[in-house]
Amino acid sequence: MKKLYICLAMFAAITFGSCNHDEWFDRDSKSLITDEQLWNDPKLVTSLLANYYNRLPSLHGVFNTGGMTELDDAMWSGHRDQNWRNDFQFGDDYGRYWDYGLIRDINLSLENMETLSVSLTDADKRLFIAEFRFIRAFVYFEMVKRMGGVPLVTTQMVYDFSGDPTPLQVPRAKEHEVYDFVYSEMEAIKEDLAANNASKTRANSYAALALESRAMLYAASLAKYNNLMGEPIATPGGEVGIPASMADEYYRKSLAASKAILTGSYQLFNENPDKGANFYDMLNKKTGNEVIFAKDYAVGLKVHRFAYDNIVKSLTEDNESSSTISPSLSLIESFDYLDGTKGTLKDRDALGNYVPYSRIEEIFENKDARLYGTVIYPGSTFRNRPVSIQAGVATWQNGNYRFHTAPELGQQLENQLGEDYAGGLWTGFDGPKDDAQDVSNTGFYIRKFVSDAPAASTRGTSAANWWPWFRLGEVYLNAAEAAFELGRTDEARGYVNILRERAGFPPNSISLLSMEMIRNERRVELAFEDHRFFDLKRWRLAHIVWNGAEDDPNAVVRGLYGYRIVRPGHADHGKFIFERVRPSRFRRARFFRLANYYASIEQRVLDHNPKIVRNPFH
């Protein structure tokens, strides 16, 4: 009986007690974020933005070691399983980029910002919207420079289940319309982005202007140089091909944007009196005021393995990899001498005899300081430690030098070649060695972007130096090119000379500027920064420079091997001579066909949307 009462009492307690507390069951999910939460919390919107910033596209950029070895600036010396990078042709789909997934995500975000965010402050909301639009324009710019005009979709596209998909089939916009879209978007949001002006890793007003400066320059040079071709590359509907008459207007817009940045608070990085080291520090350190917009990394949080891939062989801290990117001789020779002469190295005299140098680094002396900041050449240092780059020794036999390389890297020369020749280094720890893996095959290593932080080249720690999307150096060159094309040569010369002064040239080092010089400046200043492929495309020079000819010094990546002369009793004994080589791992000359100016559109896309026209030659 007692039991029954207790049961009843408990039953009553449970039923009555729980009645009033239904909300007790209404708990916020710990694993889901609702739209209301997301769009009304500045912290959550910022982390969504971080996701989109992280998805900003590049072709050979953002520490893409492999991509950087697919042009004429470098070859692949890493693992043999990727030697196809030294033995490939640009396919029809090379550089294809068609990311409407990201576009849709951004469009959706923009619409949700409008409809669902009610408690954000007006300033916050405007800033976020501007950032979304910046990213979207950036993505469209990346698409148009690779594919030509693409469908301009700025709203979410929803199927209405009517059985008719035609409203979803957006045709391609004209090429110039996409560039105009980028411009008008940047003009519309640059004021709103001013709140970010203290940040270098979120888009700010100057990042918008920098995108404008670059995009307008691309549009202008496409308008100009495409129409100078024997037969301009174009489609009847203008999806590819910008009328020549639009060039000047685009150059003016680009110049105006560049000037707006140059009058801002940005300054060329100049913290190290050693000009070469200064150029390296500019991208390796996160100080100074040169970088406008960057993708940042942090140890323990978000890292990359560019240093692991590319550290000099003898300085590697990990048990695998190193030395993947081997810069080419043609890149090294594009750095001028400080007296303004062409950068061709003086390895032989006019009669074709080797020029002996008493120190191995002597041949690289008096060159543009950016050479030191960009590549590691024989006799130079990294992390304050000397590198050991020497291909072998040269002995004098029958009136000619004969080259001998050691079977092992870092080997000292003993009696292998005879007692007379014994003594000294035979082949350096860092090679170069032909047909070898994980050691330079060209005689050069990359310095730019390779972090010198402790343990940066280990996989455990990895590197945390940042990737510059935009920096002032490029803006100077954009301004110079636009001004030059508009006929304002004095102004253009001024911009180039300022940049060259930072590289160690005397003031006003160029007195007569030419387009060739501007192009060369871009190659050396912006090497490995994901510009060269697109620069040569927009000047319509890619098919001429990378002509696929096996004996062409531009299309073929070559190296320069230094040898120590072993010639006892002769004045040149102990000096160094240099031999130009074609590394045997480099198998096929770079070959850019007219079809590569615009990548082919994927068949799946053409099948789904009959309004999409194909690119020329595809």
């Binding site: 071709m229 024997g230 002509n547 000819a549 096996e550 000359a589 007219l594 030659f617 595809h618």
Partner: protein, 225 residues
């Protein structure tokens, strides 16, 4: 017991044999081969350079079948029997006729000569060796009226496959010296590294501004000694 094993074996064998029919397709066996021709003559191209496209309708997967063309203008593709559409693509030394498809019925081995319209063509070529020089004579014919001449070049190589990408020597013919439709005669020195060989392969190529590819004469073997 014995019966059981036999039964299991029979079933297993049965599955094996029937399974095969479902899993395996017979490999395509019909070979479509032919040449790209103009005026009945094959057009020489860069080896594996220009391509033709084949399409087949009626299947859910719609993807092109690339057909590569060798240096002499010959191609071949191994296919299933059926009806195909053949497209002449751009970036070839001939007119882009992407909408002008050729219907091909493949029934067993099929031969098809694909007519193309090159922008320029070279006829009546001949090569002579005089000392250390090569004398080439040829006529450049303009086929497409609107085409503009871009390059005329002579390619020399020790081995047979030679074009504007692989060559041992390239002789650039000045455009000014080329008169369309009449004989051009070029005398050029053979380069140092080729002089000592017993024979050479040579061909002349012509390129219009509309394309990155050359149209070549057939490869000729010439003896230096």
């Amino acid at each position: 017991m014995k019966k059981k094993i036999t039964a299991i074996l029979t079933i297993a064998l049965g599955l094996f044999v029937t399974g095969c029919e479902y899993d395996n397709f017979e490999a395509p066996r019909a070979i479509l081969s032919g040449k790209v021709v103009f005026d009945g003559q094959p057009i020489g191209v860069r080896n594996n350079g220009p391509e033709l496209e084949l399409w087949q309708d009626g299947y859910p997967l719609r993807a092109l079948i690339p057909v590569y063309i060798n240096h002499a203008g010959e191609f071949s593709a191994t296919l299933f029997d059926g009806q195909y559409k053949l497209v002449r693509k751009g970036n070839s030394p001939w007119l882009h006729q992407s909408t002008d498809t050729i219907l091909v019925d493949v029934r067993g081995n099929t031969t098809l000569d694909v007519p193309v319209v090159p922008y320029f063509n070279i006829t009546n070529e001949s090569f002579q060796i005089g000392g250390e020089q090569i004398v080439a004579s040829f006529e450049v014919q303009q086929i497409v009226e609107s085409a503009q001449l871009d390059q005329v070049r002579i390619y020399l190589r020790k081995s047979m496959l030679t074009d504007h990408v692989v060559f041992d020597q390239e002789i650039n013919v000045d455009r000014g010296s080329v008169e369309l439709g009449s004989e051009t005669r070029i005398t050029a020195a053979i380069s140092e590294n080729l002089k000592s060989s017993d024979y050479l392969f040579v061909r002349v190529g012509v390129k219009s501004t509309a394309s990155g590819e050359y149209c070549y004469t057939p490869v000729q073997k010439i003896f230096l000694k």
